[in-house]
Symmetry: C2
Amino acid sequence: MKKENYVPTMKDVAKEAGVALGTVSKVVNGLPVGEPYRIRVEEAIKKLNYQVNSYAQGLKASKTYTAALLIPNTQDPFFSSITYHINTALLKRNYRMLLCCTDYDSNLEQEYVIMAQQNKVDGIIGLTYNPGLKIEEQTPFVSIDRSMGAKIPCVASDNFAGGQLAAEKLADLGCKHAAFLRIGSSLSNEPNKRKSGFENGCLARGLSYEMKILNDGDSFEEFEHFLNEHIEDGKLSFDGIFCVTDSVAYSVLKILGKLGQRVPEDVQVIGYDGTRILGDKEYVCSTIVQPVPDIAEMCVELLLQENMMQKPPLVCLPVTYVPGGTTLEPSQEQE
Amino acid sequence: MKKENYVPTMKDVAKEAGVALGTVSKVVNGLPVGEPYRIRVEEAIKKLNYQVNSYAQGLKASKTYTAALLIPNTQDPFFSSITYHINTALLKRNYRMLLCCTDYDSNLEQEYVIMAQQNKVDGIIGLTYNPGLKIEEQTPFVSIDRSMGAKIPCVASDNFAGGQLAAEKLADLGCKHAAFLRIGSSLSNEPNKRKSGFENGCLARGLSYEMKILNDGDSFEEFEHFLNEHIEDGKLSFDGIFCVTDSVAYSVLKILGKLGQRVPEDVQVIGYDGTRILGDKEYVCSTIVQPVPDIAEMCVELLLQENMMQKPPLVCLPVTYVPGGTTLEPSQEQE
DNA sequence: TTGTATGCGTTATCAT
DNA sequence: ATGATAACGCATACAA
């Protein structure tokens, strides 16, 4: 019947319907066309099983309705959530998404940018770690969590406010001496502000604090040493700990257990991100929740916004605190 | 200097280098070209910052080096792992990946298939739930976990063997009376074989068992009722439970805790998938691990294989068992 | 309102 | 070995 492996084009449809090529194009794109023509064309389309070729469209229009997302991986809960919500936000606007897992590899990040540009994407959203990433001027780029210069908008949760909120919560929950634990990239990025926010909050509330900041190569055992050093007669000198991420908090919780400290009775712990067990169950710990759907929506909005002119260099979205079992419940205090 | 927003083409490069269009094409594609020409062209490319247009290439060659992945979401740990590894496997072969999160929505699945076809993808990999999904013959498709007819290869873990392995492990670990708990789609798919495998394994080892199978709409509380009904004088009649997924196992563990049952002392629990806490930490429970990297690799391999002829209709990849704290450790038994 | 013709950027087939 | 030209499928400006 139909030729094997032959993909019909507009020309075939035009011939089948006995109309001109342009008419078919109009029908396909919903432009006004005489009713009898439209019907004949639509029948021909069904009969031949015709589908437009986005590549030909893209070539013609130099617009591909495609965006690329650069992200280290999809397994880290925060990344997987970002990925999902950006995909959804793009879909809503009828955009396709190229997923580019970079594995924190600077070279791979650069390669993916080049690939995306060659693929004529309408824009790139990236959570990247390459400080020297080269991006063509004409390719819109929105960065997550890292400032990349005035021309590139950066979207992040309000990390400073988040750190502050964590300090305030610990103070509200009765803590007297807190700790901030961080393991992080030396790279300058937005999440680094969690530290400043926390310090700020502690000072405002008269909460004393100490910090332990691990560098890239350091082992988690450093935290164990640090905490162990602050135990006297079995009692930890901290009664509140703010961890830079839920992942760190999770590891710290295990260490605390090993050291015989009870959570939240002896020491309360707050993380950052809003990670849930298995993606959709309880929170891993009491935490500062990132507004991931809003971050995703904002990224896409900024990316597709026409007037480059007034793209803000930095957008910080509000965070919230949720108890997750590692802090004393509000019912136990006078909230 | 360079015109604002103007993207150079091969023609511009040819003019700049003072050579013909075809010569530039050859240089770009690494075809033999006289050395002095090659150098001049390469210099022109650098000077103009030229990049090939994949859309024009794709239009000409009707090959796009792009594949689409249809998956419900990227947040479920199994899905996120599949997504990551398929992305990696495609990258290795220089393919780009369109991510399509379907949210278990049959209509969305179909829309994405159409989108992918219009986008002239070289193939689609799908973990889908639409039994009537329409796919053009000329679009290669590989299915994960669900058979979709003889022409479409299906890749899955060896679910039957996995169920069997779970039964054998429970028997080895001293269980006398087991339970199988499942919540699942009524849709016929490969994971359903976990049940048959488990039954088979129980029979082979003389392990008695009961089953509780929830339907789509049912609440998890049904499991609680079921388990509660099997408690007499505070003692659960089961000493081993196989859960259809780690996610179910996780919930069941919580229920068991509520019912005052100790795991693994009173009852041992085995899940399925190989899910780790926060994606990279300990296993959620003792579990049958799916070989996700192998599944991903196999999907891509089958998808891009030229000779459609000998594509097997079903490929089952071997699973392994790992203890995850919800079974008695090997050191405690005579393994 | 419908039909015709041109060009998008590339590759490949020619003749040179 | 290199240079001119046609064609991929579609959209659109223009002519009918």
